[in-house]
Every structure is written in structure tokens, then in C-alpha cells.
Symmetry: D2
Subunit: 353 residues, 4 copies
Amino acid sequence: MKHMIFGESHGSAIGVALSGVPAGVELDLEEIAFEMSRRAPGKSPLSTARKEADVPNILSGVFEGRTTGTPLAAVIANTNQHSRDYAKTKDLARPGHADFTGFLRYQGCNDYRGGGHFSGRLTAPLVFAGAVAKQILAGEGVKVGAHIRQIAGISDPPFADCPEELGGDLFYKLAHKEFPVLDDQQGAAMQQAILSAKQEGDSVGGVIECAVTGLPAGIGSPDFGENAEGIFAQHMFAVPAVKGIAFGVGFACAEMRGSEMNDALYMKGGEVRARTNHSGGINGGITNGMPITFTVAIRPTPSIAKEQDTVNLDTMENAKLRIEGRHDPCIVHRAVPVIEAAAALAVCELLGI
Amino acid sequence: MKHMIFGESHGSAIGVALSGVPAGVELDLEEIAFEMSRRAPGKSPLSTARKEADVPNILSGVFEGRTTGTPLAAVIANTNQHSRDYAKTKDLARPGHADFTGFLRYQGCNDYRGGGHFSGRLTAPLVFAGAVAKQILAGEGVKVGAHIRQIAGISDPPFADCPEELGGDLFYKLAHKEFPVLDDQQGAAMQQAILSAKQEGDSVGGVIECAVTGLPAGIGSPDFGENAEGIFAQHMFAVPAVKGIAFGVGFACAEMRGSEMNDALYMKGGEVRARTNHSGGINGGITNGMPITFTVAIRPTPSIAKEQDTVNLDTMENAKLRIEGRHDPCIVHRAVPVIEAAAALAVCELLGI
Amino acid sequence: MKHMIFGESHGSAIGVALSGVPAGVELDLEEIAFEMSRRAPGKSPLSTARKEADVPNILSGVFEGRTTGTPLAAVIANTNQHSRDYAKTKDLARPGHADFTGFLRYQGCNDYRGGGHFSGRLTAPLVFAGAVAKQILAGEGVKVGAHIRQIAGISDPPFADCPEELGGDLFYKLAHKEFPVLDDQQGAAMQQAILSAKQEGDSVGGVIECAVTGLPAGIGSPDFGENAEGIFAQHMFAVPAVKGIAFGVGFACAEMRGSEMNDALYMKGGEVRARTNHSGGINGGITNGMPITFTVAIRPTPSIAKEQDTVNLDTMENAKLRIEGRHDPCIVHRAVPVIEAAAALAVCELLGI
Amino acid sequence: MKHMIFGESHGSAIGVALSGVPAGVELDLEEIAFEMSRRAPGKSPLSTARKEADVPNILSGVFEGRTTGTPLAAVIANTNQHSRDYAKTKDLARPGHADFTGFLRYQGCNDYRGGGHFSGRLTAPLVFAGAVAKQILAGEGVKVGAHIRQIAGISDPPFADCPEELGGDLFYKLAHKEFPVLDDQQGAAMQQAILSAKQEGDSVGGVIECAVTGLPAGIGSPDFGENAEGIFAQHMFAVPAVKGIAFGVGFACAEMRGSEMNDALYMKGGEVRARTNHSGGINGGITNGMPITFTVAIRPTPSIAKEQDTVNLDTMENAKLRIEGRHDPCIVHRAVPVIEAAAALAVCELLGI
């Protein structure tokens, strides 16, 4: 399955074309709509006030309710642009954003309004593609779920400490939470931290932990391009604002000894299992049958109300920038379904779907 | 440039085939030999006692001292195998290793001796390929360097705090250190920690920080498959034992506010520069002209002398394993040139070389 | 540049997503419309009576008249479907068509109406993509043209015998002919042959010759995946009804001696030139600076009015089929701009655009 | 399965690296040696006098007689080079060869001796890779065979007229013939034509027909990059001297009517079959269960003894060239196993092996 995401924040529409979709998958459109709504803006003071219906219009690849196996394209209209908000600061590169790098890469020709193709809005078609991928994977017994692992220094416990078994029920509960954490008290503290930052015209970052269950052991390869960790990573870095990815215990392995880190193996019901999952379900680039677990670091939203030093890309002079318009003081909670979507696409690639 | 690494730890030879090498690059074979020696085992009590000459035999792609532009293949003979060390424990899956996952993936047909194709020994042809890549990149003004950022909880300062300018001289000095750290006192403490772990039959992990200088701004894309961070990540995860990668401040961004994290821009000598480099030289998947900096997490060596619980893959019963043979109590220092090699290959991919 | 074509003949829309488009190309929309009109049906008794406006709606990737460099998507609405024509014969696999192979490949889930994703209608977005590619290539001095080389055994002279120089003027003249041949008398005979076949409820095939001028020497490689001939071929076989491709003199080389076939070299104005172009501008998979010339074989339209033996894919019994609906007695003349479009995309791939 | 072929005609060795080989395939080394011998030079006056043992040395990817599933590399030493033959004419571009295009592509740095990487000698590792692929495919019931369809205007009957059923026995007989034709009388006439050309210091071309049996119906796709015909074509054009490919009746379809060309379908033993195979086993880019048949055009060997006009790439002046050394007056018969090898690799790609 290959996907190509297109569109700009303030263009007429955004969308995605997907090829290699298996034929005959009955698409649950309500389920797709639910996934889209998890990401959609305009729902709470924690997010941007821009409202978008985000209804995907499927142009091809679905016939009589099932995938045809030929390329599937879906388009989402842009309706609620405030392009004038951007015209004033058109030439002022927003620090932390891709305004300057996009300007160079596309020789000043890219659509600057609302971040153009770099906008977080482009994660809507990604969530759509991921929703299709999830429905394909459900037929293979594979489930994907995620939660906020950290925001502004406040932590949710890791999946590894979760008293519930990873998988469908837990993932369902998390997906239906407004603020997807395992420990709601910690979640409340995080939300407080987001609102504090917002009041100060600032933003916060965080960490998302994602898990994949039901993936058989023996998938992947140690080699470049086929390595399970590399495949997940490449999908994750295509999500805006992701700055890092680590599997299992992640960077904490640097402080562990081999005797602690190694996941001891034992037989359980005729199958080889690991007593712990420090390696996040992957050894030597190949799945080991344990849940895949990984964390991704999400940078604080670069768009902040505070005045910042920057340059004017037209005059090439130093400048002061004060960003107006509607922005997210934190995108971590909205990024949870996006990370799941990217993970679902990565699993399809791994499985050769 | 594409590369295919082949070989097994105890087979007749390992090697690499490289296609897409630019024509006319004068190869400095001594420089290649130096890079190989940085990775080579058998040099100190901090590493495995296996000694290998690691002399690459270039079979094609070089004519009269210069690359021909047609595929370049190099082969390194295996000479110092102790295959019998492995026969005894052939069926006992080493925890943390790919024995179990490789067994499933390759249906028990892969060469188990010394880890076979999963062996860290396969990083020798990777270092060779990286050495070729570095010489190509030198012609473009691009330099790659790395240091140990952490071992066993003991930290070397980040490149960001380094009083010296990143680039050729600093990288040269680091490459010529036996133990490549910025602060040798911290390095001494790290070495002590490695020897302690070794005495206890255990191993330690760590973090390597890598930097790339001289890469022009405007390279990469926000999109899947073309994203600069995704390209680096995919190359890094093809290095055995890498469990995480993060750019710039990495996972620390989760605790920062936007106002702290954003790298303010200003004009310097007619060029746009950033006052800080928290984003590691990449915004929106595109280079911004600052040095690329990233850290990778290296797990502790899974091969330890301590007894471990595991399973016998032949009888499918629980078993105890005590690994003998020659092993590294820590591979972080030897992995430094490997990470540089993988980074050099990633830069070639990014530059369309 | 990568392209993904989507849609079904009787779905709501067809289209294409293009990534890797260079930034800053001023798109001449009238020129694009002209290319679309060359392929459009409903213009003469030589083609199907289905009329389609074929107006591409560009959703993204173009801003203020220029390409942005980010993915460009265009959608063409389907408006003039007669889906009921197909319902009657839904289960009867049309011989020569992909009904049977598509049924197996997509497990009976693909949209059968009007050939679905296999329809020649899907060449409309291909022509759109090719029109964009042509405008990019024009900036590089590269031109693409084609003519009907043969229909129903009646031949137009090859480009090699053409008294006019290959390139812009000749290509312009050909593109503006209703029936693009070098010798209009031969063209008239071909049209007569098409109408004869039509009257008999039959169809005819032919050969198209395509040429590319302005491509520099030294592009391509002998190796798999980078070979100039292989790249053109792969693009051509993605055009429905193409059954063969051959470069230069093509299959006639089998009857030539080396002394005839070899293109003697000589110096002309300081440049190496070939006296003849039997090899079609490519040696060893690499362009030699002469025009690229190749021919493609186009099978006779499989949809004919005559009764045919086939099978019913529902009952799995032998059946008789009489195809009704609107069909082309010959698609060769309409395929000329499609072959040019595919050639333009191939040249972009070759040039690394 | 991916392959990378490396080496130069007069370098130390040539070879191939293959990744993605399925694990557990028992390799029949004698069968591989037999395939190598079919291509090997020095066996008859019809071919070059250069003798090469062509014994592949497998460096990796095979353990205890079976493929490991990890990359398989094989190296073939060059032993019988007469490099001095080439030094005299080093700067004289041989017409029809890649001397001039290679000179430009590789900026004069490629190994010119004996054609370097462009040499037909590089088909030895291709035959090796194909022999491995054939053994993998045998396990899937897929067979590949080929015969000379035409040399110097003299024709062997097509497979379509062959009284024997396509498949193992016929392919075995053909592979064991010194001169693989269906009609030995025609073969004798072809050999006579080759010797005549040789006596005149000239060379002849021809056509090879290849067939694949046992491939299931429903493999491939109409889309670019996944199209069965496109995949075969790309593999064929990576064989030196191939100038065209056509499926089934090939270019003859241009003179046929739809009613003739269409392969009528009928039920046979519960399966859908076609009464004829004019489309060569592929419709809409997807296999239809009939044998795949295609022809490839092989140009006459460019190296001829006759004096030719050319240019001196050093002085950039007109020059006369008289090629000495050992050459093939015809490579069609030696190319038969090469085309089979490329076809076997194409089938692996199609099957996702």
C-alpha cells in the first residue's frame, strides 16, 4: 500500500491517494468518521478555534461498500480558512516552523497561507488513510492504540505498567476519551498545564506512546529498508512536530545493564514469550510477537502569541513577529490519532499489504 | 546511491555492493582503512577479543584510483571465527538478540554461528560504505562527526555546549581519540563503568550524538519517504542495537515551552541563521542550514556472561543460558564510526547522490 | 516525480496525484486543456460517442499560477456514464479485456462498469500528468512528439525518413492534426480502414512512433532500474492496449547486420553525432544525444460488436457475448497524446525530476 | 528479491548480491553450473574465443546447502582477459557500443577495457541470479524456457505453433540443445548465416521468444510500476543488446482485427481458459493463467572486424576503427539463457518474492 497526501491548508481541498489497498474490505464509514473526529479541531479550549467538518469524499476505490483493490482517493474540502490572518505576516518566517526551510526548498513558490502543505491540517488525510489501514488490519487481528505519555513534564504511566492487557478494549477506551491518558488525574494536570501555557501566549510539547498488538512474530529484517524499527520511524517522522522515536524502554536503555534490559524468554502455552518487553517487541529489526511499543517526542507548537525574533524573507532583515490567528497551545492530544494512523500505515508496509 | 550489505559472521566473507556512486571520486584507501580500524575489534579490554584484519578487497567500481560510477563491490574475508563456541548453545535463543526472531523469520535456515547476518561484524562493510560516502561528501563540503554522549548514565556534554565549532577539526580530533568524548574525564568514568560491568559479567548501553555540517539549507521535504528526519532514522535503525533516535534537543522538547524550543532567526552576513539549534537543523523535514544534530540510543550488549532464562528453540522447552565466547561489554564506543557511516549514507540519499 | 492515477470509468471522478513536481513552473492551463482535448472522446465517427468535458480541477500544488513544489492533485468529474449498458453483460468476461483478470486479481470486488479502473478513460489523468511534465520539460529544452506509424497494415513513414527536422515545429503540426500522420494520404487510407472495420462491427490496431528531442547525452545507466530503455518501457506498458515497444529500428534489427545497424559517429560543430539513428538514441541504456525514437504496438480495441465466445464469471459456464454500448473501432489515434504523456513522465524520471 | 550486479570485464571479479531470497531453498549447485555453462563463451566457432571457467563463489546467504534468507552474494573471478587488445583503440568509440555514452555518463572514469561494466560478460552474474530464481520458482510450479525465434531473417516457429505442450520437458530439451531452436533445420540455416557473417567480418541479430508456464492467473496490476508487462520489460532491457519486447503476437497485432486478436474464453475442467494466446498471457497488466509469451529483439553484435567511421574521444576528431580481439559474430544463441534468467527475476518480482 502506498499513499500520497496532497493539499494546502488554505487551498480548495486536501486529500490522499492510496494504491495497493487489498480488495474486498468492507469499509465502515462511521468508524472512519469517528477517527476523523478524534483529530478534528475546534472542540475545546485546548485546541485551535478553527472548525472544519472534515468529511472525506471518497472518489474512487470503493464500490458497493467494499474496497475495489484499485487506487482509493479521498478529498476533504477546506471551508473555514481565514487567509487574511496570514497575509500581514506573510514574509516573517515563524521560528520553529518550516516557513524558512519551505521558502528555500520551494524557491518561494509554496502556498504560505496557514502553513500551506506543512500545516497540521494535512494530518486529516493521514488520519483518513490510517482509518482505512486500521480496518484492513482488524481483519488480520492487528490493533493499534496510543495514549499521551507526557505533556509539559507531567507523565502518564507507560503501557508497560498498565494493569489492563494491551489490545482492543483498552485501545477502544482510550480512543473514546476526550483526553486519552491511562491515569485521568495526570490527564487533568496536563490539561491545566496546557491552559496555563495558553494564557501566557505560549505552548507545550509532549510524548505519545503507541502500541500495536496482534502482529505475528517474524516480520521485518535486520537490513536497511526492511527493518521494522526503521519502517515505523520513517512513518512517524512524516507526522509534523515529531522530533524523536524510541522503542520499548527507549533512551532509558542507555542507563540499563544488559542483565536488566534483556527480555528473558520462556514457554507459555506452547509459544515463546518474553517476561518483559523492554525491546518494544522488536529484535534485530524483526517482530518477536510481543506488542510493539514505542514513544514519539512531539515538540511544543511553534505558533505562539509571544513576540519572537525572526527575519523578513522578503527584505532579508531582522524583524519582530507576533503571531495572531487561531492556534493550538498543544497538539499532543490531537496528534494521538495521527500517530496511530501513521503506525497503521507502517504495519501495512511491514506486512507487505 | 544504494547499498546492499551481505555476509554472515562465520561465513567465508562479508561485504557490500554500492550502486549509484558518482564517477571520478579519488578514493583515499588509507582513509578508508583508518575508518575501518576505528570500528575494528580486538584493540582494548573494553571490546571483544576477536581480532580481524578487516581489509576490504575492492572488486569493482574503482579504476586507476578513482570511482568508475558503476557498481562498487568490496569484500572482507572472515578469518578469526571460533565457530565451536556457538555450537554448544546453538538452540538456546540469547535474550535480547535476534536468535528467536531470526529463527522465525528465516524458518530456522539462517546461519546461527556468531549471530550470522545479525552480527555486529556486519557493521564492517557498513563502515566501508560510509567511508566511501564520506569521501564523496567531503567534495561537497559536508562533514560527519560523532561522540559518545552517554554511557551507563555518565554523560559527555552535548555538541550544543561544545566551545569548539562543529566541523572538520573537532570531528578529526574525536575520530582520532581511542574513546571519542568531548570531556575526557567523563570518558574515563565511562570506561571505568564498562570495566565494572565486564567484571560482573554484564554489559552497559549508551547514547551517541552525531552531527553533520556543511549541508545546505532547503534539502528534504515534509512528505513521507523524502523527509530528512525519516531518512536519517531509517539509516540509523539499520545499525544493530539502535533503539531510538531524536533530533536536536530530542525527547527533552516534551518538557520545553514553545518560547524556549523555537530557534529564533536572525541575519548574519547576509544569511539567515538560528540563534539556537534546538530543532537539530531540520524544520518540516527540510534542512535549515544549521548543523544536523541527533542522538541515538544504543542498548546494552545482549551477550552477557551471567546466566539467563531462555528457551531451547529445538525442544521448545525452558532453558538456562550461560554465554561463553568473546563479547563486548559495551559497543557504544565501537558504534561511533558506524553511526557516522550510516549518517554519511543518509546524507547521500538526502542529496540525491 | 511520482504519479498515482485513480478512478473508475463510472465512479464520481478520476484523477491523479503528482509528487516531486519542481517548484515555480508557470502552468499554461490552456495548453493543458489542449492536450486533454487531443485525447477526448466524442469528436468523430472514428471514436466512441461518449462525450466528456474532461476539465481537470486542480486541488493543490499550484498557487498564483505556478507549481508550489508540493504534491499536485487534479480531479476530473465523470458526467456522461451510461452504466446500464454494462449491467446486462456484467458477468460476461469480454475477451481481450481485463474483465477476467481483474475479477481474479480483485476477487470480484472491482467496479465492472465500463471497465472500471481498466477503462481507457483513465488515460485522461495520465494525459493531464503528461501535460504538466511537458511544460516542465519545455524549460529544459526537451520536446516530445508522436505520430501514427501504422493502422490496419497501412503505414506512415518513420520519423527517420521525415524530411523535416524532428522537434518543436513538426511536433506542433502533428499535435494539431485531427489525425496525426506525416503523410495525410496514408492517413486517409487508415481512416477508411477504421470505418470499414466499424461497419463490420470490428476494430483495428496499429503502431505509434514517439520521439523525444533535446535530451542531453549521458542520461541513464546500463543497470536494472536505471536503464533508459527500461524506464520508457515501464511507462509505456502502463498505457492500456500497449503490447510491445522497440527502440530505433526496433525488431527490424533482427534482420540487419552489424555493419548496417551500427550508427557511425562523426564530429559536427565540436559535438559527437551519429550519421544514422538505428539505435533510437540510446546505447547501453544511456542516451547518446540523438533523438530518442521508439514504436509501440497498440492492440485492436477488444470491445467489438461481433458476437464472441466467452464465459459467465458468475455461473462459470460458456456463454455468447454481444457487446453493446459506445466503443472505439480504433484507439490508435486517440492514444497518440497518451503515449506522448507517458513518454514525458518517463523523461522526467530519467532526468531525476 | 532485489539484485545488484557488479564488476567490469577486465577487473578482478564480477558478481551479484541478492537480497530478499526466501529462506530454506535447497540450492542445486550443479543445476546452477549448467545454467552458467549455457551462457559461457569459448565453446564453438559461433561465439567469442575467450574462455572463462565462470565458477561462482557463493560468499553468503547459503548455509548447509540451503538459502538462509539473508543476502546471497556470489563472485566470479575474471581470468582470461586480454586487456592489451583494448589499449590500442582505447579512445576510439566503437559504433553501436556504449563507449561514447559511457564516456559521457561516467565522465571518462569508467573502465574501458573490454567494455568494462557494459560488457556482455556481466550477464554471467545475471545468469547466476536467474538460476537461483528458477530454483525458487520451481518450488512454485513455475517454469521458464526460451528459444531462438529468428536470426538473420531465418525463423524458428513460434511457441504458439509448437506441437508440444509448453513447460518442463520442452524447456529441458531446448536448454540442452547446443543451438536452442524448435526446428533444427532452421537452426542449421541460422548457424550457416552466422558463419557467413563472421567470414565477412560482420555480425547478425535476431529474436528470442521466451515463455513462462505455471504462473497463476490474477498476478499484476494495470497501474504503473505493478504492471506485469512493464515488469518483464524493465528486466529485459537490462540485458545488453535488447532493443525491443512484445507480448503474444507482439507487433503483429497492429495488422489484426479485434475479432482475430481477442482470445475467446471457454470453460475447461472447471477453469477459465483461452482458446488462443494472442495476448501472451496478460490482459490489463494482469496474468490470465495462460503461458506468458514474449519476444525480444537482439541487435547484431556491434563489435565487427570491418572498418568503421567513428570519433576519437581524446582528440575529438574523426577516426577510422578496425576492431581486433575476440568477438561474437552473433550473441543471440548465448543470450537465450540470459533472457530466461531475466524472466525468472521478473517473475519473482511479480510474485512478490
